[in-house]
Structures are given as C-alpha cells and as structure tokens.
C-alpha cells in the first residue's frame, strides 16, 4: 500500500495534475453554487474538457475535483440561500440557513468546510483500506459472477429508490439497458435497432445522454419557475459573510459527530444507490437522536452538530461511492456512472485489475481526494465571499449560458449537429419523466452498464453453452437470488406494514 501511495503522490503532485485539482475544485464550487445545478450536471458539462486532456489520471483528478467542489458549492447555497443545489445538501440547510439568518453565515460555512474536509479525508483513508481488500476478492470473479454482480448493483439502485418508486426505478434501468443495445456493438459486429439511421450506427453518446438527463431539465426548471433562482438573488444581497471562525468549545462539540458520521457516511456511500442523500439525512437523524435533550431542541434552529453531521456524512458517502467504481467497475450512483463513462472513453476500465494494471490512476485519484479536500479548505473557503458573487448574475444571462454549455458539451464530443437534436429530444423526455417523479440516475447507470452486462452474459453463455452457468456457479446463483430479494423486499414489507396498520385500525 505504501508503494502505491508513493506512486499516487508522485503522480498527483505533478504541477499539471495539481493545477487540475485546484481548477476542478474552483469550477465545481462556482457552478455547484448555482441553485438547481448539481454535481451530475457539472461533471457532465466538464467531461468533454476532461476527455480532451487525453491523460486518464489528469482527467479523473479534474473530475474528482469538480465533484468535491460542486458538493461544497451546493452546501454554500444551502447555507446562504436555503436553496440546496442537490438533494445531498438539503439536510445542510436545516441548520445552516438558520445560522446564516442569525448573522453567522461565515461560521456556518467554515463548519461546513471543516466537516466536509474531515468527512472526505477519513473517507479517503477508509477507501484506501477497503478498496484493495475488495479488489482482491473481485479478482476471483468470472464473467458469470460479474454479470450477477451487475444485476445486484442495478437492483440495489432500484431497491433504494424509496417506497413506491422501485418499479419506476427498475423501468428506468431497463430503458437505459435498452438504449445501450442501440448501435453496432463490438461483440456482434452488426447494427442493431438503428432504424437505418447512420447517426445511430455508433449508438447514443453517453455525454449527450448525461446532459439531456441532468443539465437540460434543470435549466428548463429554472426557466419555468423563476422562484428557484429568485431565491438566490434575495439571499445573496442579504447574507453578509463576515467572521469565518468558530470557537474551541464548538470545535470540541463537532469532533465526535465528525468521527461517527465519516464512518457511517462512508459505508452508506459504498452501497449502490444509497449515496450522499440518504447518508446526510440519516446522519442528521442519528445525531439528533443521540444528542443530549437540551441540544436536541437546538436542531433545526442553527445547531452546530446539526450542520456538521450531514456535511461530514455526505462527503464521506461521496468518497465511499468510489469503492464499487474503482474495485468492481460498477457505479453505485449517477455521478460515479458519469465518471465511469468518462473513464471508458479514455480507455481505462475500472475494476479489480485497475489496481494492478494502472496503479498510478488508482492511487493518484485517492491522493487527489486529499488534495482536493485541502484545496477546498484553504483556497476556496477564504474566496467564498467573492465566489458567492456569481449568485448575483442575472438569470437572463445565466440560463442562456447554461443551455449553451450543455449544447457545446454534446457537440464537441461528437462534432455532429444531429447530436444536438438528440440532446434536445431526450432533454424534453427527461423533463417529462422528472415531472412524473421517475428517477433518472438509474437510466444513465443502466445505459453505461448495458454493454458490460451484455458482454459478461454472452461470455458466460458461450462458456456454459446456454443459461447453465447460473446453476454451475453457486456464487452467481446466490447473487441473482439476492438481486431478486432486493427488488421484491421493499414491496413485500410495505404490503405487510399496510396490512398490520389495517389490523390495528380494525382492532380499534
């Protein structure tokens, strides 16, 4: 591990890569602060830039920096404006915004930055310990196990989608998988479902799809509902950021919270589909429940613990979500799915072999996580009052520019203007799906995993001359049963709970 760390350190502190971390963190903070634009949209917009860098290490370092920056930026807008850019920072606004209203915006931002830093750093240490362990287990896997594992991953993402949402999430996953079959795959060398269109010969571009699924609907919502951005302009003028310090007493209160939430957040982040949102809400709830009675009442009114808990947990979870990506090559969240797509475009296949085949990529990413967190703490925090000025950019200018960058992202990836029409078309479909509360991250994850899933299934079927591999390999069978249980369990439990509630009502 020490050798790996050294390789990572020497790669990450190369001046160009350092510049990428700093650049990524600042860009991420800038855009992440805009209400409505989450990390997924920002990473999608930045991917063409990352891909043109050509070097997978620099690209991944840049994107990881953007990711951290965006989460930090999202927390800033939650605290200053009560306008969380992403679901993962909603819990931050519970106590962060009341603090800002009391004139402690600077202190709240520092607490958020310190907790994020601690959560991210402890998460990175845990990643360093657990990823190699998981990788060594994963090296024993064959195509059949991989296929089963991907099915488990996809079902888990649907299973964690929430009550009444499992079917919808599964539907979106399947839609993603169906879309992945369009075009000429390397495996069969024949075009499928292209409807005779030349533009579909190479399939749908994942950058276009990522833009259409996340960035475009967000921009459309900003246009349709000016209240979403108007919230911004009010707060930006009102929330003055003055004193950035917190007292030693307050620091002492935060330490146990940070310790607990980094570990809890990390492990929640490792689970596919759970991610930063659940980690932050759960972290908030746990800390409120275990706090002494007097402090419990402070939660929601500007409690330091209430701010530190979700901030630590969401950053630790973001780091945790890199575990399945780096060790198994299976993304557990929309953001890591986008990162996986970028890596594949750069000819790097994440998975258990990544650590042995391209150790510099693996370790440089981990080291750049530390550096990224450090950059956020020492560079971004003092700059926050200036970066917050972006919130004063008039909406009339902001929205056309967001749309333009979305268009550019799709165009420069393919250099084909048909891609822009596909972008707009899918953007409209994605907006309608969002109206009906369909989750879109499973669609993108399904799309990205589709090719790998089919490859592994085909390879297993070739070896076993049919579907026999399911019964020949007990681990694959076990994983497939687990996938079925994951999908069916939430519905079964909801039904049982409803029945029990009915029984109680009858008893009355």
């Amino acid at each position: 591990m020490l050798e790996g760390l050294m390789i990572g350190l020497s790669t990450a502190i190369n001046p160009f890569n350092l510049m990428m971390v700093v650049f990524g963190c600042i860009i991420g903070t800038f855009i992440g602060m805009l209400p409505g634009l989450g990390p997924m949209s920002i990473i999608a917009i930045m991917i063409p830039v990352a891909i043109t860098l050509g070097d997978p290490t620099a690209a991944l370092i840049l994107l990881a920096g953007v990711y951290y920056g965006a989460i930090f930026g999202g927390s800033t807008s939650s605290i200053l404006l009560n306008a969380p850019g992403v679901a993962g920072t909603v819990a931050t606004s519970f106590d962060g915004y009341p603090m800002a209203q009391k004139g402690m915006a600077g202190k709240a931002l520092t607490i958020a930055a310190v907790s994020s830093f601690a959560g991210g750093t402890i998460g990175a240490i845990l990643l360093m310990v657990f990823a190699p362990m998981l990788s060594s287990v994963a090296l024993l896997f064959h195509s059949a196990e991989y296929f089963a594992l991907m099915v488990v991953g996809l079902s888990a993402i649907a299973a964690f989608a929430g009550t009444g949402q499992v079917g919808k999430a599964l539907m979106m996953t399947l839609l993603g998988l169906i879309m992945a079959t369009v075009g000429e795959g390397a495996q069969f060398n024949m075009p499928r479902f292209t409807m005779g269109l030349m533009d579909l010969q190479s399939g749908f571009s994942f950058i276009t799809l990522a833009m259409a699924m996340f960035a475009l609907p967000e921009a459309i919502f900003l246009v349709m509902n000016p209240a979403r951005s108007a919230q911004g302009s009010d707060g930006a003028s009102g929330g003055k950021i003055t004193n950035l310090r917190f007292s030693r007493e307050e620091g002492r209160k935060m330490i146990p919270v940070i310790g607990r939430q980094s570990v809890q957040g990390f492990f929640i982040g490792v689970l596919p589909g759970a991610g930063a949102t659940i980690a932050s809400f759960l972290g908030y709830a746990v800390e409120r429940n275990i706090a002494p009675k007097g402090e419990q009442e402070e939660f929601g009114k500007g409690s330091i613990k209430g701010l530190a808990a979700p901030e630590t947990a969401n950053n630790a979870a973001c780091t945790g979500s890199f575990v399945p990506l780096l060790t198994l090559g299976i993304p557990g969240s929309g953001t890591t799915a986008i990162l996986l797509g970028a890596l594949i475009a750069l000819n790097v296949t994440p998975g258990p072999r990544l650590m042995t085949d391209e150790p510099q990529v693996f370790w440089a990413v981990i080291i750049s996580m530390y550096i990224g967190n450090l950059v956020l703490l020492i560079l971004n925090l003092p700059l926050i009052p200036y970066i917050a000025k972006i919130l004063a950019i008039p909406r009339n200018y902001l929205i056309p520019f967001i749309l333009f960058f979305t268009l550019m992202g799709a165009y420069i990836g393919q250099n084909n203007s048909t891609e822009l029409l596909i972008l707009v078309g899918f953007g409209v479909v994605a907006t309608i799906l969002r109206f009906a509360d369909y989750p879109l991250a499973p669609l993108l994850i399904g799309f990205i995993l589709g090719t790998m899933l089919e490859d592994n299934l085909s390879r297993s079927m070739q070896l076993a001359q049919g579907f026999g591999f399911i019964f020949d390999r007990p681990m694959a069978l076990g994983l497939l049963i687990l996938a079925a249980v994951l999908v069916l369990l939430p519905s079964y439990r909801a039904r049982r709970a409803a029945k029990r509630a009915e029984g109680v009502a009858d008893g009355d």
Binding site: M171, T181, G185, R192, I220, M408
Partner: protein, 164 residues
C-alpha cells in the same frame, strides 16, 4: 390516469415494439456460422423486452404499494398547473436550441452562438442590448478560442458561403 401511468403505458408499447424487432426481425439476418452460437445478437434484447413488459405492467397497473406520504418534489413544479409557470419561455428556448443545431453548420459557430445567446436572453426578458450583444460576442469568441486553440477541436467559425 396520472402522468406516470401514461409513461408506463408508452414504455410497455416501446418494449413490445422492441421485443417484436428482437424476436421476429433480427434472427434471419444472422450468418449461418453464428447460428450455432448459444448467444445471438438478439438474445439480450429478448430478455430485456420481456423484463421491460413485466416491469412496465407493474407500474401501469399500480401493483406496487404506493407511498402514502408525499415526498418533496425535486422540481417544485406541479405539472397539472403548467399554465402558472413560464412554459412559453421554456418552449421558446427549446425551439432556439433546435434552431441552433440546424444553423450551426450553415451560419458557422460565431454567428449562430451570438444569435443564440442574445435571443435566449431576449426571450427571458433582457432588453439592455448594448450590454447583451457585446457580452454574447465576447463570450462566443472566448469559447471558440478555448475549444479551437486550447482543446484543439475544430469548430467551423464562419458561415459556409464565406469559406468556399
């Protein structure tokens, strides 16, 4: 019927069409040597179409127990009252994006981008053209320079008739 069920209906129809293509139109194109393989190009699509129809029907028929408590909407927009929102502006901007896609080649990057940015802001209510047009032009040239010179991706800057 609620919007999510309509979407499920469309999804089931899509899966049926997709399944039809996979089951009935793909296999006869297969060269004879591939027919001995246990896996055909249509194998995975066939599995997907069956799963798709089943899951689509589960959502369509509301078999899954729905959550009683309403979760906060991610969009803050109630689609049943679209009239309350700036739907016209959103549609106009989408139209502009389509026009941009169609004009990018004939008009060139610079002219179409300046037009897109200025018209986009105008649609949203901006009337200070003496600020707007110079900002749009400056941003366009900056992005063009960045993409063409720094990233090295070719973007045709001028209209087609000026180049040929």
């Amino acid at each position: 019927m609620a919007l999510d069920r309509w979407i499920a209906l469309v999804f089931v129809a899509l899966c049926v069409l997709y399944g039809y293509a996979a089951f009935f139109t793909m296999d006869h194109l297969l060269p004879p040597f591939m027919q001995r393989n246990p896996v055909w190009p249509s194998t995975f699509p066939k599995i997907l179409s069956i799963c798709g129809v089943i899951v689509g029907l589960v959502v369509l028929l509301g078999i899954e127990k729905q959550s009683t408590e309403k979760e906060p909407s991610a969009t803050d927009i109630n689609y049943r009252n679209l009239g309350q929102y700036h739907i016209g502006q959103a549609l106009a901007l989408l139209g502009l994006m389509v026009a941009y896609a169609l004009c990018l080649r004939p008009l060139g990057f610079i002219a179409s981008t300046i037009l897109f940015l200025s018209l986009g802001a105008t649609v949203l209510g901006e009337r200070k053209f003496h600020y707007l047009i110079p900002i749009a032009a400056l941003a366009t040239f900056f992005v063009w320079y960045l993409v063409q010179e720094v990233l090295g991706i070719f973007l045709r800057p001028w209209p087609t008739f000026l180049v040929n």
